[in-house]
Every structure is written in structure tokens, then in C-alpha cells.
């Protein structure tokens, strides 16, 4: 059994957890930061946002909100690529997809620690 197979349940759990986070939390944040704030429908001061992102609980929340959905994407995208006929590249695809999510997780932690 290859190491990739033995940790398969871990990827699936992260996919599932990311799916839950994406379902419950992503729409409202996308609405706020993608539409409502840029279009001026609502306004939140920079000072308030800075105070929020500086709070440890909010940092933890943002870490979950940003990092987990990356694994959701990685898992789905990997199987899309495999279904597109890239079966021969199974391992490299898995490394590429989950690797991107891991890089994203590290970047998220980095940004949140420094902000």
C-alpha cells in the first residue's frame, strides 16, 4: 500500500470539514467582501476590521474559514483532473492538489500571525 493510500481518510475528512465550512460560512463573507463593502451598501471602518483581525479568536476563526475550504477544493479538483483522463498522473496530481492546500494553509497561518 502506498503512503498516499493510507492517509486517504485524512484527505476525505479535511474535504468534508472544508465542505461544511464552505456551505455555512463562505456565502456571507463573499457577499460582504465581494459585493456589499466594495459597492458601499454597508461600511465597516478599517480600525474596526483591524481590531477584529487582531483578536486571537477571530484569527482562529479566519484560519478555519480560509484553510479548510482549500482541502475541500483540493480533493474535488484532484478527482476532476483524474476524470479528465489524467489517470496515469494519479500521484503527481494528488501531490499538486493537496500540496497547494498545504502551501495555502502555511500562508494563512503566516498572514494571521503577522496581522
Amino acid at each position: 500500500m502506498s503512503p498516499g493510500k493510507t492517509i486517504e481518510p485524512l484527505w476525505w475528512s479535511l474535504f468534508s470539514a472544508g465542505g461544511v465550512v464552505a456551505a455555512f460560512l463562505v456565502p456571507v463573507h463573499l457577499f460582504l467582501f465581494g459585493l456589499a463593502l466594495p459597492l458601499g451598501w454597508v461600511s465597516v471602518s478599517h480600525a474596526r476590521l483591524l481590531a477584529l483581525v487582531g483578536h486571537p479568536v477571530v484569527k482562529l476563526y479566519l484560519f478555519v474559514l480560509i484553510a479548510l475550504p482549500l482541502y475541500h477544493w483540493a480533493h474535488r479538483f484532484r478527482f476532476v483532473l483524474e476524470d479528465l483522463g489524467l489517470h496515469g498522473l494519479r500521484r503527481p496530481l494528488a501531490v499538486l492538489c493537496y500540496g497547494s492546500a498545504i502551501v495555502g494553509t502555511v500562508a494563512t497561518a503566516w498572514v494571521l500571525i503577522r496581522v
Partner: protein, 106 residues
């Protein structure tokens, strides 16, 4: 396939959100510049499309978990439709709470 596409929009948005958090940390000017960039018609159209896909993810996810997730009360299994409805109620509550937290409470 449509369901798989939703995950791409989800991933793009969380990366964007990370950039926004970074810009907030850089100061008021960096954040204002970021918001100005997000005002461009291209970005707005993209976010409208992305919102549709993300909500589609929510709907399909709730339908799927309603079937997969077995909830029991005592000896009786809660019907999947009730589980799905419960998810929607929880989603609305969470969404309203976040809007309230960010926009009303200060």
C-alpha cells in the same frame, strides 16, 4: 461537474479573503486601494457569479448531508428532510449572526 466547479469559486474566494486580511494589516490606505480594485465591473460580475456557485454548493451540500447524516432522537431516526431543513435554519442563523456581529455591533 457543476458541483466540482463550485469548489474552484470557494478556493478563489478564500484566497482573496486572505489577501484582504493581509491588506487590512498593511493599513487604511492599502485596504482602501483593495476595496477600490474590488469595485471594478469585472470583479463585481465575478463575485455575483461566484456567489451563485457558492450558494449552489451550500444547497447541494445540505441535500447530500441530509441523506448521509443519520440523526436519531431516542430510537427514532429523524427524517432526512428534517435534517436538511435544520441545516438551512442553522445556515440562516449563522449568516444573520455574522452580519449582525460585523455591521451592527461595535
Amino acid at each position: 461537474m457543476l458541483r466540482e466547479v463550485t469548489s474552484v469559486f470557494v478556493a478563489i474566494f478564500v484566497v482573496e479573503l486572505l489577501v484582504i486580511v493581509h491588506k487590512i494589516g498593511q493599513g487604511p490606505q492599502a485596504f482602501a486601494d483593495m476595496m477600490a480594485r474590488l469595485q471594478s465591473p469585472g470583479c463585481i460580475v465575478f463575485h455575483v457569479v461566484a456567489l451563485v456557485f457558492v450558494v449552489y454548493h451550500t444547497i447541494t451540500w445540505f441535500q447530500a448531508t441530509g441523506v448521509v447524516q443519520v440523526v436519531r432522537v431516542g430510537d427514532r431516526q429523524v427524517p432526512p428532510a428534517v435534517v436538511v431543513a435544520g441545516n438551512y435554519v442553522a445556515w440562516v442563523v449563522v449568516t444573520l449572526f455574522i452580519l449582525y456581529w460585523l455591521l451592527v455591533r461595535s
